[in-house]
Symmetry: D4
Subunit: 247 residues, 8 copies
């Protein structure tokens, strides 16, 4: 589409070839040397930018935020250290922080609800909350109505069965569980909507940093389940938003 | 809902307590001793039954088919040995078989298109076809329009870029890849719809039966990707159908 | 106890020192060169001998049976090839064979019921039957009343919930499951008796020969669960018998 | 049973349908938002509640204790940080702490001995004590007579053989071992009661955080052995109590 | 060659046998007890010495530098702690330090450009910079013209496609990537020069310390790719220099 | 370059926009439905096409060969089953087969030597020959002078030291080894040219299908070494050719 | 020593330089192209040659035997297929074969007992016999008095304790065990001589092809134990011979 | 032997049965509750006691030392924290500490040389020193003459070849190496004495805490090599002493 427009510009002599080449190169990304920022993502798909903060220096994070802020984007940062947030807060007074899930938010304009239904975040235990909250806040930030039901793991199945009505109201479910990670399997049999399974590294011994829950989820007998990386609350929240936006 | 109805029946003396208990036990599943068949699934969610044939004896498979056929259901069997199909064919003359993907089909009534958009199955290589076809036939069987683009792996990125229009038309994409399994990552950056990643066990050496592709997909930097089990074409097809059915 | 008796025999000159040394060495085991048979096990704990046939030559298996048969023991062989059984059958006409679980039985005297309650064997799927049957026949052979409920995996939780009365009647439960292996966790929350979890190698892809189910079971949040080796139906049946025999 | 009673209440108009639905939902668990507490467990099976403290914030732990204390339950907390205990102690003056095993206890009423025999905790080495003590205190807390024999690993087999009389007195044995983890195998051959094997992460190099001992125990040739998760002293103590309670 | 010369010396009586034996032993390496320094490497292949600092005490590192400095060599230290550098700096005032990549340099003479083309270092993300810089500085130190393009991972494929001209100018490419590590596969399809793939430990969850990226790279479908150890920027830089020097 | 030409064609009205779009899509690859063939590779980089036969049906392989043969390309097939070759031979009488390395060759025109030096293939043992030969024939096919030295593993170091002159003559070395895989480390210390290490799955026990040799090679202390996938003789041969072609 | 002699030969003009170089290169190994045979091993250390037959073609094995037979060496082949032996037997009528351990022997001269004590081979189970026999025959072939005690695994510890006198007579012990592999640990505590531990792949489920026994042995608490590769009976026999020969 | 003496004592009425039972139980080990000390080891095999300090509290270590000191034994502690040593030093003024290898020594009487030859400790790199020193000091403490050659890894093979005379003088060699761990393979081909291989966790990336070196050593093609646990310098030193003591 854009490519055709550009070609037509070239054909009609409205666009110089050198300019066209330049456009192809420079338009989509702003190169900071250490990072390439994708400014047209928000235009393209209505989603604001997201910065994965882990492994980036404070200086780099601040640099990226500066460029994004110039465009007036809403900004979401995941895995943001408290110390980094404090430095960001000094510059951007309206920045907010969710301590448990380490989410940084800078809201420059209203969030429009683009989801068509409700997203539900469910956890097996209390200890899965930080990952679940990452999914919860990501999904809300991307314009969705989101609910949560926590600590309803399968070892006390009635806790889950008591919530069937709420489960069946959701359009997409995010199931977060550590240890044996069996929650998505049971959920998958109770509902008829997509279940996004998030294994967490919660547990000890032979859980091997979440591998146990990951394998359980991948091997689920239930249909309609797919899996994201261990502790990847962000990925689950983003995917849920994407599914919930489908017309 | 059903529970309330049942309770009201009990209250109004229209339903005997022993009968109510029996109903609760016997309605949903038919117990063959070696298998419990879920007849109300099709009523509940519009999807016919699916039999996972691997590890079941021919005798058991035939027994399950018989019970399901009695109800007039459409029947899908995955991972069905050719020899098993031959035995099924003797009894059910209208049974069909897809040799590459080992899919068994018994169509007892028309398949209604319930999907709201198009599902697209994409593979990295020619060798991923059997898994991709399992997804393709499953998804069609569940009432979807499905297209396929095969052998467009990332090591020849132009093969994929040439197909961008087709990619951007899809409502859900199933990305099937073995070896390094990088296809979903690149796809995820090109489209704004959910990408269901299916790692395959295709490859050799340090691919460790598909582990390599599985890890790649789980660790994808792209957003909107989730993963099913290695070689699980059925699971991907089913999930795609579920997402595509969302109103 | 025996040691004291022996020492007293020595002290009272009723037992020669050389004889005492010999006794200590030779009594408990009969050495066939390739195998040491424990004849006093049946006397000691009421359990007949069990032969693990895998990896033993037919010749060795026949040799061991011969020695045990001489004592009139009941004989159980696990993982017995059909061809081996045929050779055994030629010599011991009353030998029996369970084809699915590969169990060989030679019953030389009545089996006395020594269990104090009922043992229940439960499976997640139809494909777990061979392992479950190994547990079932082992446990019966060791003198227990045993029931079975098959194909009640957690992805269709109502199949399991329908059976709660039967579950709650058992004194020990053996839970056999492959794939995601979540059955024991749910069971553990429904009953208050020991649950012996048996992971099976049933499944494909990232189940890694049963590793997936094994890790799930080890990481179970439910209390009262312990795990035996992958596909080790025999071990589960034996342990169930041992617990069920406790006064 | 309870379900029948409830249904009869409904039938006899002693119980309103809405009330009945409410009862089914709200009775068993108290939902704190971050946790669902199972108050009827103690009524159901005579066992007090247990809180797994790892991964829970002090605030959450205090909240859970508060609700449980209101019911007058005895409370056991495992993997409790010293700092958390100190905060608990400020509020509940009768709280106690076992430093080595990180066990928190709040005893609100006498512990009744419900075990029918003696439970014995055995370790391979001195370094396995913290895990062994977790099993020891859990099992005592659940109403059992418990003994311990520590540092009798198989590399000095006479240390173990010297204790045979004590071993043979036990009704259930918990065998705790790290490094090569061979203790349960030898024990399994010496006694005729269930042996619960607990691998510990004690060791270095190729013990891979307890994997070495775990695999050893799962692969044991001895009969009557089952395994719990690495370092899971609590799970072993709980299961031992459950077996020892069997009538 | 040298051996022949030495033999001729012995034959012509110009060289005593004991001396010859001594020469054979002592010439190539200088033995410090804790380290053997290879002084003739620079003469042999034009490359200065490199010290891998991790796991060596400051004392040992200083000892090795002293011996090398005596010969007037250029000295490169990798994985050098900041504290170690500070101690080195006290003695050798012209020592330099690259903080991100932990590179220590002592330049005692000019670096001669021996490379025949340009080496290009490319990264998938901002977080891969420390490893990429290790490659960059190593390769420069060994006498090469080196460029870098950072943060052009495959999830935003246009970032990479925009740089095709720069990519195609290089004689050797070093591709550094963590997470899914798909960058080298795409690069391998775009260029016709050797691609040295460096997996990094950047990521979380199922990336298992870089294993994910490592397996991806080893299983690449693209031709002309080879892999060095996880985070081994030095190794990649050294190999690139070696290839670039080929006449 | 090509893109500019195409753009100029569009600008000068020599090229219709629709045609330009078509060209961009259809030129480089010929789509057979199950495979996309890259015909311009030979023009682009002087290398003929290579077919990885494993996992492809005979029908697909024949289809691909047919299309490539039409263009008069030289054709190399790796991992080709003998039965497949026999079918190919029926159609293409001049097809050749290397049984040990399972290489299929159809030479339609002379192979031009494009390498600038000699490539040397070295193996640790006799059993590594099939992988080494795959490298050898691939590299020759791509226009290189190739030598081989087999069975000179490090456990008999003099076998290797005796060949130093031959080793030092090579411009690129391919080192193939299974079991402990230490050959490349020693080689890397003896020569100053790139060493491409190929781990093989030769061995037993704890070699885990080549993992042992793979890890050894990745962890090599020697400089100038990089690694390809287990048993990937083709990849090593191709890379060696690419390096040897560098001007 | 030899080097000095050679140097003296050169000095005294008894040895030409070119000859000396040739000698250094050609003496020790005979190069068959696919194999380098070490003829001087027998002279050097009194041990005959050993051929590892796995992965070698019959043609290559026969070629190696021919060259060794010419020198009149005793020849040992391990992992020799029965079919290979049959071909060898046709040419060398005095060749012998041990079917269980797949050992091929061609005895061309008497075996001299060079061991200073007795070597003892002990196994945990009957199924470990093939590996144990490989150790047994290797060690005898290398000139040692060897005894065996089979099926004395630790799950029936008295079988082992009954044999203490025999155990304490040995100068070196080879302990062969699969499954949990705990035999060497117990042995190590009973004797004061070196114990060579050989893990076997005997077992199933979580033994992972012998990994379980391997880890057990590596993590043994007992002193004086070292480990060889899984199923490596040959390696254990060879090492035992080497230790037993020590003066 | 001792058993016979005891039996004779009983027979001759020199020993009361109760006393005999007591002797059997209490003689060999002194039970401190948390530890069983083996006092008769020194009498039995001439070796003093060794305490593995890791995972033991200071209090327990001091308790064990006290009991051993009472008997006048020489005492060796491995993996001893500096802080622990300081506390020990306060009580036992003649205690000594080797900081690099964390060895604690309390010498209460002269060490007698019981070794029959020389033990040699060789390392691949400087970073392997701490493990190598643990072997060195253990072996000396057990009465052996020990030499060391450090930093002679295979990537610079001449460093090793220069030391052949020293290597060939040793009766037992301990080869310590991290990273690729190839040192023992090369050594095994150069000498005819037992080589004890010690993998170290030195390295990074895909060395996986020493797994890489461990697998290399287990898969060595060289004969006469066996392996101890990763970083287990003590185990290697003890085994070397045991072999060197063999008459």
């Amino acid at each position: 589409m854009d490519l055709r427009e550009l070609l037509e510009g070239v054909k009609d002599n409205n666009l110089d070839i050198e300019d066209a080449l330049l456009k192809l190169k420079n338009l989509p990304y702003e190169d900071l040397g250490y990072a390439n920022i994708d400014h047209h993502r928000e235009i393209r798909n209505g989603y604001p930018e997201v910065i994965y903060c882990e492994g980036k220096s404070d200086e780099h994070i601040l640099g990226i935020i500066e460029k994004m802020n110039e465009k007036g984007s809403n900004i979401l940062g995941t895995r943001c250290r408290k110390e980094t947030f404090d430095k960001v807060k000094e510059v951007y007074n309206h920045a907010e922080y969710e301590a448990l899930s380490k989410i940084l938010k800078i809201q420059n304009h209203d969030i429009v609800n683009v989801g068509k239904g409700k997203v539900l975040v469910v956890t097996g235990g209390t200890s899965d909350m930080s990952v679940a909250d990452e999914a919860y806040y990501t999904c809300k930030f991307l314009g969705n109505e989101v609910d949560k039901i926590y600590d309803v793991g399968v070892a006390g199945i009635h806790r889950l069965l008591n919530r069937i009505p709420a489960l069946q109201e959701a359009r997409v479910i995010i199931a977060v569980a550590g240890m044996e990670g069996a929650l998505p399997s049971v959920l998958g049999g109770l509902v008829d909507v997509p279940v996004i399974a998030v294994p967490t590294s919660v547990g000890y011994g032979a859980n091997f940093g979440g591998l146990s829950a990951l394998l359980t989820m991948l091997n689920s007998c239930a249909s309609g389940i797919s899996v994201v990386n261990i502790d990847n609350g962000f990925g689950a929240g983003y995917l849920a938003a994407m599914i919930n936006k489908l017309k």
